[in-house]
Symmetry: C2
Subunit: 295 residues, 2 copies
């Protein structure tokens, strides 16, 4: 993400929010008052040819699937369940088959996760390209929502799955959004803070640290590596779409016993201190390095 | 809109919708189950440089305002009240000032209508341009929602404001979304069917006719003309963002007496017959002509 674009992330939190907004800009989803016991989760994400997928080697179906799965991952990161979606497709230089297959990539994945695509809009671009967006809406119980800001010192930092080498391995096109895992964590009050890993472990962990006002000490040797990934890839590659979350120290063993899903790894611990990511010996991991990939 | 893109409008209605979807794709907004008495209205619209605004002569603030007002017009067309919005901005070749002013154009107008911008996403385009989207969410009482499909033979066809010459007159950049009017119509059970005029009277009236399975006889001499517009402009120019709606014959006089807003004009009547738009003498107005502007 260029500096010109970064500012939206700064602008949005400065906007006035009505009382109906329970969680405004700055988390994986916004959360809006639904009824006494529930919040409406909403998020929007873009998928752009040449930016978020390789135009020549990605099939339209893969691109469509990736678009919705990125959004589903945001719902997972709040512990919610997805319900509805809106789709936009702006293209030029693509034939009807490409667009149809792209939409099928979205709609097949939507059906798989019980999401209804309730509307959308198509338009022509003035020059060849593909700019697509998906708005996801979901539901979460007020008592169960997991935000980025709840981590406390001594909480244990966990990550699902494996990290690094997402682009070369094709993981970014065929990952499974961690909805069941997110739901399990929120329903059973395990997670105190959570984020989905889209821009690289260091960058996203720092967001969690900043929102919670803690620092994380990482056991870099414990990082679960995806095939072909080294430790540096795991720290900074991005597009992992795994869940990074904190669990109270006295609940961590219990979580590991009850966990019914894939790989789950303890990778660090929250500490009091200036928000940052460091090694277990206290050495900063973010100083003087590119922390991840900002689209 | 090219033929390649038109298909999304055909594809969307074919998708399976869950029981939580009260009104699926094909109306101005989708309507989703909220609680016993309310529905959540949602719609998404795009605004693309070189397609929906002139890149050289439109200020970023005007473009931002137009984006959200187009969406507000969709909420108005269902009789609802807007609450929340999500924004995406994908650009290249624009500096930070352009983007900031664009976002201010959106956010100032949002504040004016009590809409909270609860989230968004920014991205870079691989080539110069501006592709922006806004997702609008609003609320409507179940009993008050006005859809496209409720017009009955003998209903009177009304339109707010004036028609035609929107682009040259600048109306498309400074129009007022007819939220108060739409709300008045829905709250007082006047309108049996409604649509907002974005693609031209003939084209949008035909959509209303097809959804309601009626034909409309238009009194073309009664069309309210915007300054600089002729009858043909009023029929086919597009970008009017006025409300076109039907009222039961025995309620039409009452509506005109109670109307507290700007210009309101009777322009025709619904009749039984194959859905089409014709003159009062029965001659089709849609045969052999371009009916409007499909983006």
């Amino acid at each position: 993400m260029s500096n010109e674009l970064n500012f939206l992330k700064k602008l949005l939190p400065s906007l006035t929010q009505s009382d109906s907004v329970a969680v405004g800009p700055g988390d994986d989803c916004a959360a809006l008052n639904w009824d006494e016991n529930h919040l409406l989760l909403v998020a929007v994400d873009q998928l752009i040819g040449g930016v978020h997928f390789f135009r020549e080697t990605t099939t339209p179906k893969q691109a469509g699937r990736k678009l919705i799965c990125r959004n589903l991952s945001d719902i997972a990161a709040m512990g919610g369940s997805p319900l509805w979606a809106l789709l936009t497709v702006a293209t030029a230089g693509r034939n009807a088959d490409w667009i149809l297959n792209f939409c099928h990539g979205v709609s097949e994945c939507a059906a798989q996760y019980g999401v209804s695509i309730v509307g959308g809009d198509t338009a022509s671009l003035p020059a060849p390209g593909e700019v697509t967006t998906l708005t996801i809406m979901g539901i979460i119980e007020r008592d169960n929502i997991v935000r980025r800001n709840g981590a406390k010192p001594n909480d244990v930092l966990f990550v699902t799955g494996t990290l690094g080498n997402s682009l070369k391995s094709g993981h970014h096109l065929n990952f499974t959004p961690r909805l069941a895992e997110g739901r399990f964590l929120s329903q059973n009050y395990y997670a105190t803070a959570m984020i989905d890993l889209s821009d690289g472990l260091l960058l996203d962990a720092r967001r969690l640290a900043e929102a919670s006002d803690v620092r994380f000490a990482l056991d870099v040797n414990a990082l679960p590596l995806r095939a072909g990934a080294n430790q540096n890839n795991a720290l900074a590659d991005g597009e992992d779409y795994e869940l990074l979350f904190t669990v109270p120290h006295d609940r961590a063993d219990h979580l590991e016993r009850e966990w019914k899903f894939g790989k789950l790894t303890r990778i660090g611990i929250a500490q009091s201190g200036t928000p940052d990511i460091c090694e277990m010996n206290g050495k900063s991991l973010t100083a003087n390095r590119k922390c991840g990939y900002e689209h």
